[in-house]
Amino acid sequence: MTAEPKVAKSPAMIEARGVEKWYPNGFHALRGVDLTVQRGEVVVIMGPSGSGKSTFIRTFNALEDFQKGSITVDGIALNDDLRQIDAIRREVGMVFQQFNLFPHLSVLDNLTLAPVLVRKRSKGDVLNQAMALLERVGIAEQAHKFPGQLSGGQQQRVAIARSLCMEPRILLFDEPTSSLDPEMVREVLEVMQGLAADGMTMVVVTHEVGFARQVADRVVLMADGQVVEEAMPEQFFDHPQHERSRQFLSQIL
């Protein structure tokens, strides 16, 4: 496609340097955060609530703005240029804590809406892909139902399939299992595990230690708008280096 912006040589999928954000009420949410995510890497961000982890990943697709620092996604610099933002949003999928499925559209229409509108693909073409994706997340038989008719776990799996249908280069997960009943957490995590195994680049904000241990390439602990510790999962969970990390782990384990 000729309209696509040129992809720079940078090997990193996401490069955030010294990101600082103040909310309009003066709250200093991000205080110089650095993070590099390589292609195919799975990075789990943990931290107490209010630590800025959700705010941070929401800056990657410009759902939140920031005042200082720089973020580059797949070689495209995030700045105020709307065309750049739209280009980045096409390549970055996001899965929300509250699923945010479109309740007035059927499951299938939830999946096909963006590819048809944004990528200008033919409906029939997208339909086939959408059915294949629903098959993959295990809810093909619900394709013609509406989101309100599904359980939370099913809705979140539809939300993941909806993001995948745009064929993103990276998927962001903002506490994807936090509003699910315990028995539904596993079915969502299994889907995410499968994606990671297929080499999808993922940044996941979650409190699921088991998932982080098994799937993450790296765990990042954020507190008070800063990165406190960044380490391999075994290292992080078994031998945390910082007092703040130990304190956090003692609370969730």
Binding site: N61, L63, D86, R89, R90, V92, G93, M94, F96, Q98, N100, L101, F102, P103, H104, L113, A114, L117, V118, R119, K145, F146, P147, G148, Q149, L150, S151, A159, R162, S163, M166
Partner: protein, 403 residues
């Protein structure tokens, strides 16, 4: 009395002494008033005032030799009504499956319609050919209702796309038929009157204030300060002024503001004022709908790459307008009733025509008959709007888990 009826009566009306007392008082009160009204309507009222002026009430002083155009329009409206009714029935209602082509409510409505069209023209003492026309129109409506209801599920795409287009298109055709042009003799707006004028004014304002209200509601939530403050100023100014003052203002000021010839004549000035007035209230209804759509909906749409117009038109507005539908139709109903204020600025709408009839010495003291007729006519129009909106609402609500 069967035992079931007796026990349910006891439970609902006479469960304890106080309930019983309230029931007896209410039943005797309503009964007395109803008896009085019916007794008056059948024995004392002199309906000749309605019979003699039925054409005047319907279309005002519309030239007789051109009235075939109005008949054609009524036929088109009847056809469109039948098609819409049937198509709405045929579309799946989300909370229950379609059972029959003629569900019970529809059978009742059809019987009421047939009874009305058999009785009203005869009661008005219309000539036989005219009575026959009304029968034909009713038959047309019901036949199209049947056809559309039968085949709507097969023509679902056509129905969902076509119906919203059908009515604005019909409005344009109707305006040509009423006003002339395209080879038809011109009938000036000052010759329109009665129910015809009331419906023209109300439908004009309904059709145009709906999009204007949506734009204003979006403007009020916009991040562009000029747009936001402009919308707020407009909405608050209009909502702060009584409609009647705006109508007088419109009649006087539009004439001064616009150079001669450009200012629309009185009837269209009034229609525009009604539109602007209604749009401000609609904007507030739509704003409430927009506020009820969770923020995450817009975020999800934007993060999928939809631009703002796409996200609004495909994700946010469909949900917001659905939530705003009852309030919107409520606004349309009060708009229809507000058209009676036009009689105060000298237009011969339904109320204006009625007042001119009552001023005729021949019909002195017949105002009760006239006002009752007006009330019934307005009630019919508003009831139709309300019924249609509830049917639409039930079909638009997305289904959820459970019963």
């Amino acid at each position: 009395m069967p035992r079931v009826v007796r026990s349910s009566l006891r439970k609902e009306l006479f469960a304890n002494p106080i309930d019983g007392l309230v029931s007896v008082l209410l039943i005797s009160g309503v009964g007395a008033a109803g008896y009085g009204l019916i007794h008056w309507a059948l024995t004392q009222a002199q309906w000749v005032v309605i019979q003699a002026n039925s054409t005047l009430f319907a279309v005002g002083r519309y030239p007789i030799e051109q009235q075939w155009r109005l008949w054609l329009l009524v036929a088109l409206v009847a056809a469109a009504t039948g098609l819409s009714w049937g198509a709405l029935r045929g579309l799946p209602q989300r909370d229950r499956p379609i059972t029959a082509v003629w569900p019970r409510n529809d059978r009742i409505a059809a019987i009421v319609l047939v009874a009305l069209c058999g009785w009203a023209p005869a009661a008005l003492g219309l000539a036989w050919p005219i009575q026959a026309r009304w029968w034909a129109l009713t038959a047309l409506l019901l036949v199209l209702r049947w056809l559309a209801g039968r085949y709507a599920s097969r023509l679902r795409k056509v129905a969902t796309l076509g119906l919203p287009l059908l009515w604005p298109l019909l409005y344009l055709v109707g305006m040509v038929l009423i006003g002339g042009g395209l080879g038809l003799v011109t009938v000036g707006a000052n010759e329109w009157g009665g129910l015809l004028l009331t419906l023209i004014e109300a439908s004009f304002a309904i059709l145009l204030s709906a999009p204007l209200g949506v734009v204003l509601a979006l403007g009020r939530r916009s991040s562009l300060p000029l747009l936001r403050w402009g919308s707020i100023a407009y909405i608050e100014f209009i909502r702060g002024a009584p409609l009647i003052t705006l109508l007088f203002l419109g009649q006087n000021i539009l004439g001064f503001l616009l150079p001669g010839g450009l200012a629309p004549d009185r009837i269209w000035r009034a229609a525009w004022i009604l539109t602007f007035f209604s749009a401000a209230y609609l904007a507030e209804a739509v704003r409430a709908g927009l506020a009820a759509v969770p923020r995450g909906q817009l975020e999800a749409a934007r993060s999928l790459g939809l631009n703002l117009p796409q996200a609004l038109s495909r994700v946010v507005l469909p949900q917001a307008l659905r939530i705003a539908l009852p309030a919107t139709v409520g606004q349309f109903i009060s708009l229809l009733q507000d058209t009676t204020l036009l009689s105060l600025i000298g237009l011969l709408d339904l109320l204006g025509t009625a007042r001119s009839v009552m001023a005729n010495p021949l019909y002195l003291g017949k105002s009760a008959e006239v006002y009752l007729t007006l009330a019934v006519l307005f009630w019919c129009c508003c009831a139709a709007l309300g019924l249609g909106s509830r049917a639409l609402e039930r079909r638009l609500n997305p289904p959820t888990l459970g019963p």
